[in-house]
C-alpha cells in the first residue's frame, strides 16, 4: 500500500491558516457513519402523520406480504424508508399525501369508511382498480399514479433491506476471487 495519509499529505503553507488546512471533510465516510448510527436507533418519523403512516404500512404489506421465504414490507422496515425518502424529496410530498386522501375518499364513496376501516376484501376491490395501469379505467388515473409510485417505493424499501437482499440471493459486497460465473449458470444459459 502506498501509505499516503491525510496528515503526511498535508503540507501547510506558512501563510495558510492552520485551521483552514485541517478542516477536512471526509465526504462519504461521514455520511456513512452517520447513517450507520441512525440505523442503530429507533426510527423517528419525519413526514407522515400517525394515521398516514398506518395507511402506508397497510398498503405496503398488501404490496409485499410475508411468504415462505421472507417477511413483509413492514417487517423489513420499508415504511421507514418511505417516510425518510418522502421527507427528503419535496416533489413526492404532495402526491403522496394527496394520494392517501384520494384513497380514503374513494373508500368512503364506495363503502362509507376510510381505507383503514375497510375490510380486506373492500381494500382489495379498490386496489384492483388502481394496481394495473394499463387496464385501469380513466377515472381511476389519480389513484393509479399514486399506487404506482408507492409500489415502486415499497419495492425499493423491501428489496434493498437486509431481508430483501437475503431473499434475492445477492451474494456480493465482499472480497472474493473472480473466476467468472459458475458452471450451473453457464449451463442454464446454454453457454457452457
Amino acid at each position: 500500500m502506498s501509505g499516503i495519509n491525510r496528515r503526511t499529505m498535508l503540507t501547510v503553507l506558512g501563510t495558510a491558516p492552520v485551521a483552514a488546512a485541517v478542516s477536512f471533510t471526509p465526504g462519504t465516510v461521514q455520511a456513512y457513519v452517520a447513517a450507520r448510527a441512525q440505523a442503530a436507533q429507533p426510527y423517528q418519523r419525519r413526514f407522515f402523520t400517525d394515521r398516514e403512516d398506518a395507511t402506508i404500512r397497510a398498503l405496503a404489506d398488501m404490496i409485499i406480504p410475508r411468504d415462505g421465504r421472507s417477511g413483509s414490507a413492514t417487517d423489513s422496515g420499508a415504511h421507514e424508508f418511505i417516510d425518510y425518502i418522502v421527507a427528503e424529496q419535496p416533489d413526492r410530498q404532495t402526491p403522496m399525501r394527496g394520494g392517501l386522501v384520494w384513497l380514503d375518499s374513494e373508500c368512503r364513496r364506495r363503502f362509507d369508511k376510510a381505507f383503514l376501516e375497510c375490510a380486506d376484501a373492500e381494500r382489495r376491490q379498490v386496489l384492483d382498480d388502481i394496481a394495473y395501469p394499463a387496464k385501469a379505467r380513466p377515472e381511476m388515473s389519480h389513484g393509479v399514479r399514486f399506487f404506482t409510485s408507492l409500489r415502486d417505493l415499497v419495492a425499493a424499501g423491501f428489496w434493498s433491506s437486509r431481508m430483501g437482499v437475503d431473499d434475492l440471493g445477492y451474494t456480493g459486497n465482499r472480497p472474493t476471487v473472480w473466476e467468472g460465473p459458475p458452471r450451473e449458470v453457464l449451463e442454464k444459459l446454454g453457454l457452457a
Binding site: 503553507l13 495558510a16 462519504t28 455520511a31 394496481a131 434493498s160 437482499v165 450451473e184
Partner: protein
C-alpha cells in the same frame, strides 16, 4: 482585502489534482522540479475515506444521494452537477457540467474505462475532411500510452489482432477478468451479427503492481478503492510525487487567475483559500493548468490584463471554443433467457468485463466518426430504485400487488441488460464556453456561460446507436425497454456535458491564429504556461478521453522538464 503572498518561488505551480494534474506532478517532481499544487477541494484518500463494503440498507435513503451525491450516497466524488455557490449559465443550446471538488478530482469515481486513442483518432480531418488533425501523431503518443499502461496497470487484450480493427492499438496489458454471464449472452448474439465483443480495458489491477494489491472484485470502484487497486490520481500519481519531497499540496485553494509580469510571462497564480475566504498569491516560474477542460479555459479568460485584454493566451480568440463532449445514450432490454438465472456473485471489477469497440465503416453509414458500447447487467446490490416501473416490464402482470408480485420481483432480478453508446462529436467553433458578463460565483470569480448544440453528424450517430442496441436485444430474444425516440428528440442523444468527457476548450495546433497551445500543450502566447487536462484535445474519439489526458500530460511534463534542463524555461 489583503492579499497574502508566499515568499517562495516554486519551479512549477499546477492547478488541479485530477487525472491531468496528478500525472504532471509525478513526472515533474521525479524530474527534479519543486512543485506546488493548488486544489480547490479538500484532501481525500480512498484508503481511509471510501465507503467500501457499506450496504445500501445502512443508508436511510438506501443509496440515493440527492444533489450532493448524484451517483449515490457512497459515491467517491465530492462535487456534482450543481455546486452551491458555484453556478454556471447556458446561452445557446444546452449543457450540463459535472465538477469534482476534492484532491484527485473526478478520478476517485470515474469508470476506469481506459481506451487509448488509435492512429486515425489524431488525423480525422485527413480522413473525412471535418474538424482538424492533431499536431501530434499516434506514433509520438504511443510511448506515453505504454508508460502509463505499465506504471498505472490496466487489463485488456490486443483487439487489433483479435478483430482486425486497426484503430484499436495494442497496449501493455494485465490479463482481463473472465466475462460475466450476461456479457457472454450479449457476445453470443453479437457474434451472429458480426459485431465485435472483446475484453474491456479498465485501469483496475488483476495483478499487483508497484506495491498496490490486485483487485478483490467487490465491484465498487465508484466509491473509491480502499486498497488502491484501481486508478485514482491520489492512489497512483501523488504518492511517488510526494515521495520525492518536492510536492507541496495546498487544498481548499480555488485559483482565480494566472498572474502575469511586465514581460508577458506568467508569474504565478492567485487563489482564494475557501476555508478562510482570504486571497493568496503563489509564485512560480512555470504554470500548468489542469483544473479540467472548462475550468482551465475559465482561468485563462479570467486572467485579463492590459497585455492580455481578451484573457491570457487568447490572442487567437480560440480559448473556450471547439468545446466537445462525447455523444451518449443508453438502451436497456429485458431478456427472458435470463429469468430465474441461478444466483452468483457477479460483482467482479467495478466495470464491464466485455465491451464493443467501434466496428463500423463510415463510408457506408452516412455519418462521420463512431462510438463504442459499454455493457451492463447482472445481479447488482439492490438499492434505491430497485425494479422501479415493474408494471411496464414485458411479460409481467402489469403491476398488481401481493404474493404473485413479490415472486415477479425475484424472477426479474438480473434479467436486464444495458447498452450505453459513447461516441465522437465533431468539434465545431460554435460550441464554446465564455465568461458570463453578469454572474460571479461565491468567491467573486466570474463564471462560465456555455453554448453547445449537436449537429446531424451526432444525431445520425445516435440513431445508429438506437437501432443497433435494439437489434442486439432482439437478437438475444429480448425486448428493448421504451419506444425508440425519434428525430424530434435527437434520437435520445444526451444533452452536451452529460457524458462528462469535456474536451477542446484550449486546443492545440501548429497555427497560433487558430489554436491556443502548440504541439507540447504550451501556450503560443506565453511560453511558461501549459495546459494538462482535456482542454488541448483537437478532437474526441470513439473512445473515452482520460487515458489520453494522462498520456498527453505525461508528454507535456517531460517536455517541460527538458526545457527547464536546457534553461529555456
Amino acid at each position: 482585502m489583503q492579499i497574502i503572498r508566499s515568499p517562495k518561488v516554486y519551479d512549477v505551480c499546477i492547478v488541479g489534482s485530477g487525472a491531468g494534474g496528478g500525472t504532471t506532478a509525478k513526472v515533474l517532481t521525479e524530474a527534479g522540479a519543486d512543485v506546488v499544487m493548488l486544489e480547490g477541494g479538500p484532501m481525500w484518500d480512498s484508503a481511509t475515506d471510501s465507503a467500501m463494503f457499506a450496504w445500501n440498507y445502512e443508508s436511510p435513503t438506501r443509496g440515493w444521494g440527492g444533489d450532493r451525491k448524484p451517483f449515490g450516497v457512497y459515491d467517491g466524488c465530492l462535487g456534482g452537477w450543481d455546486i452551491e455557490g458555484e453556478p454556471y449559465t447556458v446561452g445557446r443550446g444546452a449543457w450540463r457540467w459535472f465538477r469534482g471538488r476534492m484532491l484527485g478530482g473526478r478520478t476517485h469515481h470515474w469508470g476506469r474505462i481506459s481506451l487509448r486513442f488509435g492512429p486515425d483518432d489524431f488525423r480525422r480531418r485527413s480522413i473525412d475532411g471535418l474538424g482538424d488533425d492533431w499536431p501530434v501523431t499516434y506514433d509520438e503518443m504511443k510511448p506515453y500510452y505504454d508508460k502509463l499502461d505499465s506504471f498505472v496497470g490496466i487489463f485488456g487484450t490486443n483487439h487489433a489482432r483479435e478483430t482486425g480493427l486497426h484503430n484499436e492499438p495494442d497496449g501493455v496489458f494485465q490479463p482481463p477478468p473472465a466475462p460475466r454471464a450476461h456479457e457472454l449472452l450479449i457476445k453470443r448474439a453479437c457474434d451472429r451479427m458480426k459485431i465485435p465483443v472483446v475484453p474491456s480495458r479498465l485501469s483496475i489491477l488483476t495483478q499487483s503492481i508497484n506495491g498496490r494489491p490486485a483487485c478483490h472484485y467487490c465491484g465498487q470502484c465508484g466509491r473509491g478503492c480502499s486498497t488502491h487497486s484501481n486508478f485514482s490520481s491520489v492512489s497512483v500519481m501523488l504518492p511517488p510525487a510526494l515521495q520525492t519531497g518536492r510536492l507541496t499540496i495546498v487544498a481548499n485553494a480555488m485559483a482565480r487567475e494566472v498572474t502575469v509580469g511586465a514581460d508577458g510571462l506568467a508569474t504565478g497564480v492567485s487563489y482564494i483559500d475557501t476555508q478562510s475566504n482570504t486571497e493568496h498569491q503563489i509564485r512560480a516560474r512555470v504554470v500548468v493548468l489542469a483544473a479540467s477542460c472548462c475550468e482551465s479555459a475559465r482561468l485563462l479568460l479570467n486572467s485579463k490584463s492590459t497585455l492580455f485584454p481578451d484573457g491570457l493566451a487568447n490572442s487567437s480568440g480560440v480559448v473556450g471554443r471547439y468545446l466537445t463532449d462525447s455523444t451518449g445514450l443508453s438502451v436497456s432490454g429485458f431478456v427472458p433467457t435470463l429469468l430465474d438465472t441461478p444466483r452468483y456473485n457477479s460483482d467482479g471489477t467495478g466495470g464491464m468485463h466485455l465491451y464493443i469497440p467501434w466496428w463500423g465503416d463510415n463510408a457506408a453509414l452516412g455519418f462521420p466518426r463512431g462510438y463504442h458500447v459499454e455493457l451492463g447487467g447482472g445481479f447488482g446490490m439492490p438499492g434505491y430504485g430497485f425494479s422501479g416501473g415493474i408494471h411496464n416490464f414485458p411479460m409481467s402482470q402489469g403491476g398488481g400487488y401481493g404474493a404473485s408480485l413479490k415472486e415477479e420481483y425475484r424472477r426479474y432480478y438480473g434479467a436486464f441488460v444495458n447498452f450505453a453508446g459513447r461516441g465522437e462529436q465533431v468539434a465545431r467553433e460554435d460550441c464554446y464556453c465564455e465568461i458570463d458578463p453578469n454572474v460571479t460565483d461565491r468567491w467573486g470569480i466570474p463564471v462560465l456561460r456555455f453554448n453547445h448544440t449537436w449537429s446531424d453528424h451526432e444525431r445520425l450517430q445516435a440513431k445508429h446507436m438506437q437501432e443497433t442496441f435494439r437489434s442486439i436485444i432482439t437478437e438475444m430474444g429480448g425486448t428493448p425497454m421504451g419506444t425508440m425516440p425519434g428525430p424530434n428528440q435527437d434520437y435520445g442523444l444526451a444533452v452536451g456535458g452529460l457524458i462528462i468527457h469535456e474536451a477542446g476548450a484550449t486546443r492545440m495546433g501548429n497555427d497560433p491564429k487558430t489554436s491556443v497551445l502548440n504541439s507540447h500543450c504550451q501556450a503560443h502566447d506565453v511560453k511558461n504556461l501549459f495546459v494538462a487536462d482535456g482542454g488541448p484535445f483537437v478532437s474526441q474519439a470513439d473512445k473515452n478521453l482520460t487515458w489520453t489526458i494522462m498520456a498527453l500530460a505525461w508528454r507535456t511534463a517531460e517536455y517541460l522538464a527538458d526545457e527547464r534542463r536546457k534553461g529555456s524555461l
